[in-house]
């Protein structure tokens, strides 16, 4: 990666010396932080092997981490699908030439984007419980997916709208001059290009969905954090939570890398600049 940015110019001999000095100071600071954390952990007796051994047993993974991870991925995957559908419908609604449809979609999207996901999840969890439409065992799962869908669906609706707005005007004009209706132009000309351009941003939104499934822990959904907490309660909390966090970090880092790669790949292919 080039260090070239507006703030720091190409360096001469004096600046290079300074950089070397700061580099050593920075390395010492990092080493100091790591040492401080380790000393603190050691004082609380957190570094002994039996505080970590339980993480490397088959039971911990077979009965807690893997089922928990499955709960997380299941909710995230379903929420991704439903959010994209919701986002497409409301994104197209916000682009509709018919006033009332556009207004309703705008109000719904702006409202849902402003309400915290947790508030929606708690509401659906308790409300669905009262309606007794759904098997009580599946309540938290549906509440998590519904909350995630409504929030992330509205974010995706905004992505769809801005993606279409960023297309060159000639695209829709060419479509209209061929005799297509405005609906056909949107469906056949604008949306396919906008969707390709918004792919990286969409993948970044999937990271948000995956992270927000952890909110399900608060409404008793059996996901990764919940599993880690139960394992930690039986053995050692800090260590179990660190493993859960690491699993999230690895999966999200993979998704982010994919988004960045896709953004670079697509920047050669589409007329509009794809952004992460």
């Amino acid at each position: 990666m080039s260090t070239q940015n507006a703030l720091f110019d190409a360096q001469g001999p004096r600046a290079k010396r300074l950089t070397r000095v700061f580099n050593i100071i920075g390395a010492l600071v990092i080493a100091g932080i790591i040492l401080l954390v380790l000393v603190r952990l050691e004082r609380q007796d957190q570094l002994t092997w039996d505080r970590w051994a339980f993480l490397f047993t088959g039971d911990a993974w077979a009965h807690l981490f893997l089922p928990g991870l499955w709960g997380t991925l299941k909710a995230a995957f379903l929420a991704v699908v439903t959010s994209v559908v919701f986002g497409l419908v409301f994104g197209m609604g916000r682009l509709s030439p018919i006033g009332p449809i556009r207004w309703v979609c705008t109000v719904v999207v702006e409202f849902l984007r402003a309400v915290p996901v947790l508030i929606m999840m708690i509401f659906f969890w308790l409300w669905l419980g009262h309606t007794s439409l759904i098997n009580p065992n599946h309540l938290p799962f549906f509440a998590v997916v519904l909350g995630l869908t409504l929030y992330n669906g509205s974010v995706i609706a905004e992505l769809v709208r801005s993606g279409v707005h960023q297309l060159p005007k000639g695209q829709s004009e060419a479509g209209l001059s061929l005799g297509l209706s405005s609906g056909q132009v949107l469906r056949m000309i604008q949306l396919p290009q906008a969707l390709v351009a918004m792919m990286p941003a969409l993948l970044s939104q999937f990271v948000v969905i995956l992270k927000d499934t952890a909110l399900g822990y608060i409404i008793t959904y059996g996901e990764l954090l919940d599993a880690a907490k139960r394992l930690g309660a039986a053995h050692s909390m800090l260590q179990a939570l660190i493993v859960a966090a690491m699993l999230f970090i690895v999966i999200n880092a993979l998704l982010t890398t994919l988004a960045q790669w896709l953004s670079r790949y697509l920047s050669h292919r589409v007329g509009v600049r794809a952004k992460v």
Binding site: A6, D9, T19, V115, Y217, L225, G232
Partner: protein, 227 residues
């Protein structure tokens, strides 16, 4: 019972405003600390010093990919219960401080990226022009780069503030009695007016969040750098 009666009953029976006040306090303190941490991390990430860049990059990548809920649970169950770290001698204040700390650490990563994207909006030619009229490093940074970078960062910083405001509800996982905890309690006791309760809290957040968004859009347009 009319809707108006339902709402007035809810506000009479429960301290809804007090619950939202907790969220606003969380937002304020976390915004201050997140901005300070985020600015330092952003400076590290744009500096030419490899070790600092590594530290800043690692911070952002680790924190941004960790769910806030895990950080909150970690604060209470791992840092406080297991590691005996306390942030206040007062029992309730301790949870509040932990929530502020975790919100700050989490959102600092997004503040850092907002500031970095602001700096990236400044074209290289601006710095080259500053150098060519004889300005040194600090005058260039102070007079040319930062004024433009701050204006470019308004929109992403505003978005980070909105996300922070909504994420204060996650403090529920760190045992802070804020709006979402209050909503849960109200629905459990008065489930017959569940929609009125939900609308109260949903609209409460709409009232807080939408002005922030409008001000951000207005400010970013007013101070937009013409290029």
């Amino acid at each position: 019972m009319s809707y108006f009666d339902q709402f007035s009953r809810l506000f009479a029976d429960y301290d809804v405003v007090g619950a939202f006040w907790v969220n606003i306090q969380l937002t304020f303190w976390a915004a201050v600390f997140a901005f300070l941490i985020g600015a330092v991390v952003a400076l590290m990430r744009i500096s030419p010093v490899p070790s600092l860049r590594l530290l800043g990059g690692a911070y952002v990548h680790i924190v941004r990919n960790t769910p806030l809920t895990i950080l909150m649970v970690m604060a209470v169950l791992a840092l406080w219960t297991q590691m005996h770290i306390t942030l206040s001698t007062d029992f309730k204040q301790n949870f509040f401080n932990f929530a502020v700390a975790m919100l700050s650490i989490y959102h600092a990563a997004f503040v850092c990226e907002a500031i970095r994207s602001g700096v990236n909006t400044v074209p290289l030619g601006q710095a080259e022009a500053a150098r060519s009229i004889g300005l040194g490093f600090l005058p260039t940074a102070r007079l040319i780069i930062f004024p433009q970078a701050i204006r470019g960062a308004i929109t992403p910083l505003g978005n980070a503030l909105i996300a922070l405001t909504k994420n204060t509800t996650v403090a529920a996982a760190a045992s802070v009695a804020e709006a979402s905890v209050m909503m849960k309690k109200m629905i459990e006791f008065d489930s017959d007016v569940i929609f009125a309760i939900f609308m109260t809290f949903a609209l409460g957040f709409v009232i807080i969040v939408i002005p922030v968004g409008l001000i951000t859009t207005w400010a970013s347009r007013k101070w937009a750098v013409k290029r």
